[in-house]
Symmetry: C2
Subunit: 398 residues, 2 copies
Amino acid sequence: MRILILGGDGYLGWPTALRFSARGHEVSVVDNFSRRRWHNEHSTDSLTPISTLGERIGTWNDISGAEIHSFVGNIEDGEFIDRVVAETEPDAIVHYGEQASAPYSMISRKHAVDTQYTNVIGTLNLLFSIRDRVPECHLVKLGTMGEYGTPNIDIEEGFIEIEHKGRRDVLPYPKLPGSLYHLSKVHDSHNIHFACRVWNLRATDLNQGVVYGIETDETMLDERLTTRFDYDEVFGTALNRFCVQAVIGHPLTVYGKGGQTRGFLNIRDTLQCVELAVDTPADCGEFRVFNQFTEQFSVSELAELVQRSAGELGYDVSIDHVPNPRVELEDHYYNARNTKLLDLGLQPHHLGQELVRSMLRTIERHKERVIERAIAPRTRWKPGRFDHQAAAELAPSP
Amino acid sequence: MRILILGGDGYLGWPTALRFSARGHEVSVVDNFSRRRWHNEHSTDSLTPISTLGERIGTWNDISGAEIHSFVGNIEDGEFIDRVVAETEPDAIVHYGEQASAPYSMISRKHAVDTQYTNVIGTLNLLFSIRDRVPECHLVKLGTMGEYGTPNIDIEEGFIEIEHKGRRDVLPYPKLPGSLYHLSKVHDSHNIHFACRVWNLRATDLNQGVVYGIETDETMLDERLTTRFDYDEVFGTALNRFCVQAVIGHPLTVYGKGGQTRGFLNIRDTLQCVELAVDTPADCGEFRVFNQFTEQFSVSELAELVQRSAGELGYDVSIDHVPNPRVELEDHYYNARNTKLLDLGLQPHHLGQELVRSMLRTIERHKERVIERAIAPRTRWKPGRFDHQAAAELAPSP
């Protein structure tokens, strides 16, 4: 198959490109290097040293003999993405090409606009290109479990049957997203659903949980194939932050009570899920939604897991509760369904002390690269507590 | 009160500005004249001759002694709208400042992007300005009944209580919008709801039906205060189209079967509803949703009403069913709730033959201004039947 991967230089995009290439597919990647640019502008970086996209592609070619084609540009530029789609004629497009950080979207008006513009308009451009160039192409779009928020009823996979005043319908599951980034994904989902309903396109929306882990079968083949590991307050996740804090001897900083519960999955399972989606495409006209996570944890459970795992490596780790920079429920019902990918054959890798210890050992190897000042939260959800100084420092270049 | 009206030069925005000014409020309007520009570019026009905004404001000042302040600019320009909000310090903002045509949004990728960019980013900018400048200000936002689509259950006002697997929650009503324009309003609703939840803003989303009628108490005072009447395929509504066709001796063109059912209201009731919303503001943190229509009709019922009303004026009118340029159900369940505004005291003006005859008489007065070539549908929802020639001719200037 011809597979086009948007965001193919990213944390998940690059390992995904390697996986499909290793399976013998013809892979092209698109990226605008926005994540690398953002880190450059703020003197932060991936903890793992990562090669340039050119070096990555060259290394992979040396190892596998396979070629990965690359296109550098912004999908907000409709002419650009249309040219790429017309040239590559993909059978499937895996779309990771979005601004993916909730804190980033909350820094300032500019960051919020940047996020919704990049994500919503980029995806809208893509839908038109699929419609006009490759209407049979299967769009596999990365959504997020954060689209649902934390409702007081079970979370279903994209749709819910509602009985109301004696009538029934199956309708899109209501959304209560928790940041302007998560909102951009909700907007995408509505736009893609429309394109399937009205233009007969086929799409799978993968509402992914929080991904952890660094290694995949292909990235382990050569150091130069390593994917990024972000731990800073803007692009890092709680588990990454905790692991880095354990290694540098800082208390683990739990935001608020720590009862915030979310879905999680291993990066290896992300690749499995995307492969399963591509291998079993949605029907024409179908907007298919999978909840892509394997386990649920609260933030406190993650902190305790890191504490125990680090303890076995000889670290004495304490846990601090710090004021929550976000506005979110810290103690809530959470039960999300995730059976559709399991039904397709997903074999989960569960999160245990062994995986955490392997993350800790990777961090130890790169300990001298840790930028400690980038870890503490500076981006706050509430305007009353808004830090204009921090926002100015974090502002993107014009 | 200080009231800021976005889109204050428009079909509803201008009469709304007059109404609040007549009531003694301090009114400012913002407009970028995008509707006038679009008509200029395509050699079409409002059927009713309309004055410039400056002439309108001057006439109103002559008649009432009241001043309406105006600001010319795009709300997609965050610096502009922020300056206006900071200068005017409004107690309420009535937001009509969006691209409001479904066909326009479906013409081409550029039109779709233009629509979602203008509407979503404009509203997002506004939310930040309210948060940072006037956090107590009440946002009264014009949404549309088209956000809901045509589900097989009753449509509630913004939220629905769902019982699911033994648990209950009140959640946002699921949305199935029928065009990329309607989607932009769904995105707005989600963004505004978030701003209320997280920033404690107060907002009322008026999910308005299709508005008809030309006259309000204030616009009738002087010809130079007349509001616009669009009947072309892009900005006109079915009822306006039918009335113009009746007068020029063209069969009424019903799209498809004509069973498409929607909510409708008189322009006088739009003003009543907006006044009721402003006079009874939402609480801080509340995202209040009203369904703003007074009656439901199918397209065929409208055609028959126009046929009967025109018959009494001596016109012999026939009804044609033409291929539907849209993708929509032409025969469906539709029962939408609209009691919240009635509970606040709305006194509906119902649609009857008298109102239609008065519209027909207005059209007769301006019959020589009818541009017949602009009436037939050229914008099609489906790519397979997409008319690239028409899209190119309709393309906005760069």
